[in-house]
């Protein structure tokens, strides 16, 4: 029987996702792709809730749409094509900006010397703000658990994350705190502006130059 265990959908803030540039070597052609986050978690699939800010067809009639979706910590990019019919169908019905829940695979790709992280949604669904609130809370809780595991340095993936990223845990504590405070009424998130602009500029490459096959297909 062709049975592979389903991948759990991890909860990761965009801030941590965007820095998850290490991809594990594949065991064989058919094995799933995992990336390692700076807080030592192996991720294949994520469940993400945030504001869908942009959706643009990368060139006319290409059928490939680039989306940008933001949680209280950062924005992350995603690509949707006809290989994800459910996601494409619902995306076409959504007017931006809109709060959405996304379940999707995480994909890394290289542009020059930089590695970008993106989402490949399996579906995109408009949701209510209480879903976003709970997601921020839950993701904060699970991120705190990861920070604790990083402090302990016991787990193999945590050790690897220290080796590869050597993260500043205080920076991540601060990020989680910002996200939680955003749930308080009237609180405005400042975000990581300097970084964001730089990232945006580098991202404005012509997508045709990239090999998108890996991020669009299974």
């Amino acid at each position: 029987m062709n049975f592979r265990k389903r991948e759990v959908a991890r909860r990761v803030f965009a801030y941590e996702l965007n820095r998850s540039t290490y991809r594990f070597p594949k065991e064989d052609e058919k094995s799933p792709t995992y990336v390692l986050t700076p807080l030592g978690m192996r991720v294949n699939r994520v469940y993400f809730v945030g504001a869908l800010l942009d959706k643009d067809e990368i060139k006319p009639d290409s059928g490939i749409w680039r989306i940008r979706v933001s949680d209280p910590t950062s924005a992350v990019y995603g690509y949707v094509s006809r290989f994800q019919p459910d996601a494409l169908e619902s995306l076409m019905e959504i007017d931006v900006p809109e709060l959405v829940a996304i379940v999707g695979k995480i994909r890394n790709f290289e542009v020059g010397a930089r590695i970008f992280v993106s989402l490949r949604p399996e579906y995109v669904s408009p949701v209510e703000s209480d879903v976003r609130d709970y997601w921020v809370y839950e993701t904060a809780r699970q991120t705190i658990d990861r920070i604790r595991a990083m402090e302990k340095k016991e787990d193999d993936d945590c050790k690897l994350a220290w080796q590869i990223y050597n993260p500043n845990l205080n920076e991540y504590r601060q990020m989680v705190k910002q996200a939680l405070l955003s749930l308080k009424e009237g609180f405005v998130v400042e975000g990581e502006e300097g970084e964001e602009i730089e990232f945006e500029e580098e991202f404005e490459f012509e997508e045709e130059e990239w090999d998108l096959s890996d991020i669009l297909k299974d």
């Binding site: 959908a9 879903v131 705190i144 989680v176």
Partner: protein
């Protein structure tokens, strides 16, 4: 386990039945299967037991009276003779003449479907009562285990009340709804879901409409396959069977119901209470999670401080 102790188990098992089995021969056969042929222990034991039964011409009735007492969570393979103490949790309607009763039985470890065949000539079981089900055969259908109660099985009502299965509570996001959800057809005989008017067991038969969602609830650490019934779906979406049929006829498409349910349910958080039945979590109660308490947020902020 050591070959010797496996052999002793087999020898003593048949010893209790009054057969003096050649221990050296049993060891020899087990060694060949396990050490040389690399057969799993379980299969080796089964093979040697079958050899003993043939060799000593042991009547079948004697052997199956020995079927081991198991807990429901231990039932994982089809074609095994087992006995279990369990409580009848639910009886379903059976319109098939070959089936006397069908439903669910449970013990503290889980829940499993049972089928009492009409041919078995058994007295009816009652919901809420506990029984010893002796010499039943495990079976699987589409990955789900069940027990079959036939002529050689025995059902004995017992005084002790078997504990109900432990309920678990999961909070998670509904990350997937499977294609065979929404407005479905079930077979009138066995209640299985039909595809294009065909029951996997009974072929082309008259079916009836039902509403269900087969989906995946994911809490970030684990996922749980859940099945929501019509009541659950109505509570969450306001769509009941009648409304579902109306949607299907208005849009001339039964799949429109599935699209609508996906739109209303996917990507949201739910708290689900239910019991594990094989690979599924059988849902008793489901509630939408409406946001987060301020005090919970404060608690996390304190942890960070």
């Amino acid at each position: 386990m050591e070959i010797e102790s496996l052999a002793d188990q087999i020898v003593s098992q048949f010893g209790r039945l009054g057969y003096d089995v050649d221990r050296d021969e049993v060891i020899k056969r087990l060694k060949l299967l396990v050490l040389e042929f690399k057969v799993p222990e379980r299969e080796a034991v089964r093979t040697v037991r079958n050899w003993v039964i043939r060799e000593y011409e042991i009547p079948r009735e004697k052997v199956i009276s020995e079927s081991p007492l198991v807990k429901i969570e231990e039932i994982k393979k089809p074609g095994e003779w087992v006995s279990l103490k369990a409580k009848v949790v639910q009886l379903w309607d059976s319109s098939s003449p070959s089936v006397s009763q069908v439903g669910l039985v449970g013990d503290e470890t889980g829940i499993i479907k049972f089928v009492i065949w009409a041919k078995s000539g058994k007295e009816e079981v009652e919901e809420g009562k506990s029984y010893l089900f002796k010499n039943v055969v495990t079976d699987s259908f589409q990955g789900r285990m069940q027990i079959n109660i036939g002529r050689t099985s025995e059902i004995v009502e017992i005084d002790e009340e078997v504990q109900s299965p432990r309920e678990i509570e999961i909070v998670g996001a509904l990350v997937s709804i499977q294609q065979n959800s929404g407005l479905i057809h079930r077979c009138g005989s066995c209640h299985r879901v039909m595809t294009k008017g065909i029951c996997p067991i009974h072929g082309k038969v008259r079916g009836y409409d039902d509403l269900r969602v087969k989906g995946v609830l994911d809490d970030g650490d684990n996922f749980y396959e859940i099945i929501l019934n019509e009541d659950n779906i109505r509570d969450l979406t306001g769509i009941d069977l009648n409304k579902a049929k109306r949607i299907a006829s208005e849009r001339l498409d039964r799949n429109a119901v599935l699209s609508e349910l996906k739109k209303l349910l996917l990507g949201r958080y739910y708290k689900v209470v239910g019991v594990r039945g094989g690979r599924y979590l059988l849902v008793r109660k489901v509630d939408r999670i409406g946001g987060v308490e301020g005090s919970e947020v404060d608690r996390l902020l304190e942890v960070l401080a």
